[in-house]
Amino acid sequence: MTFNPFKFAAPATFYPLAGRLIPWFWALTVVPLALGLYWGFFQTPDQLGGSNAQKEYYRIIFVHVPAAWMSMWLYVVMVFWAALGLVFNTRLSFMMANAVAPTGAIFTFLALWTGAFWGRPSWGTYWDWDPRLTSELVLFFMYLGYLALNAAIDDQRRADRAAALLAIVGLVIVPVIYWSINCPDPNQCAALHQRSDLTRIEGNILFAMLTMTLAFWMYAFAVSLMRLRTLILEREAEAIWVQELVGGRAIP
């Protein structure tokens, strides 16, 4: 028998697969998380030298930067599933988008929150209207809007499709965040954030940061799949296989 990935587009077949994948994703979360935090906190240089001297507090970037990356990535992932759902009208795609959204919102919040904690000692303020901070805040509002619209409409089918459309419209904000620092002419956009450039980062710091990113990715997979399983059970509650699964009486 050949492997057919489309088989798993049906909630009934995806549910057990997700159940088997979740422990693996948790394992893949915990190990890099422990390694990344250890490496970031103990194995990286004490402070950035030169004119940009920062003390131990710079280590918050090992949470802050991966969280900010994830906040943008997960929005793209959410839009991908939402668009797939609109085009092919598949139930599972919408559930996938719904399952990813809260995690994205949490990472956005985490990025903003850790940024504020970093900003206090290094910029002397919790909040500044730097373009990247502001656009990240807007991204947070987009997540909230998606979740609120989804919750406000009673008809699940309409809620899915309406929220998906909103997510697609909101996609315009992601490139804005990305290029809010790396804009073509640095003189035109004064910002407190440095230009991001992976090649200019010290090797140990980069290693810790990428390890943390991997951990966050796997965490996002794990919790999204867990949320997805709950969504499947909730929405397919009338289906026979769910009734059998939860031990209830099957509807004839």
Binding site: T134, A148, L165, L166
Partner: protein, 223 residues
Amino acid sequence: MWSAFWCILQRDLRLGLRRRTEVLTALAFFMIVVSLFPLGVGTERQVLQILGPGVVWVAALLASMLALERLFAADYEDGTLEQLVLTPQPLSLLVLAKVAAHWLLTGLPLVVIAPVVGMQYHLADGQVGIMMLALMLGTPVLSLIGAIGAALTLGVRGGGILLSLLILPLYIPVLVYGAGAIEVSRIAIADAQPYLLLLAAFLLMALTLAPLATAAALKIALE
């Protein structure tokens, strides 16, 4: 095809002008919000000159949003909207006509009344011109983006509050560049040009994409 466009446009204008209070409410709201700020932050000439551009745009955003809720609501309630969706005409074109009528009734009056705001905030004559131009380019974008939100929240409980949550984040670029245009024109009028060009670019993009998204949202709402 264009006759359908004109037909809807004329119909909505006529309906809007017959219920003048709705049109005037948005305008009165705009003027009241703008007038409240000097009372709250003090009436020094310098403060007002700095504050003016931002206040005008925030008030315009709120006024435009206030009126948006009614954009499709009446047609939705009496079933007209369903008929519009069923016509062989492209729905996005009909949406564009409705949004155009909406802008003529709620956005254009803001542009016309802008010089009064300019006086309140001691803006220079040239700045008032820039402000009118910026509003002229920016308020249609607000109506176009807002129409997407209005269509998405059609008939949803708590729609008004939800609409603000969905739409205000998308309004931010218009706010930034609209206020920016007025702000920089305080020093030199010509400095406002890039801001106005960007607003014009937003307008073109919104004109092409927003009606399509709104039409899709309406179809979802009516399914």
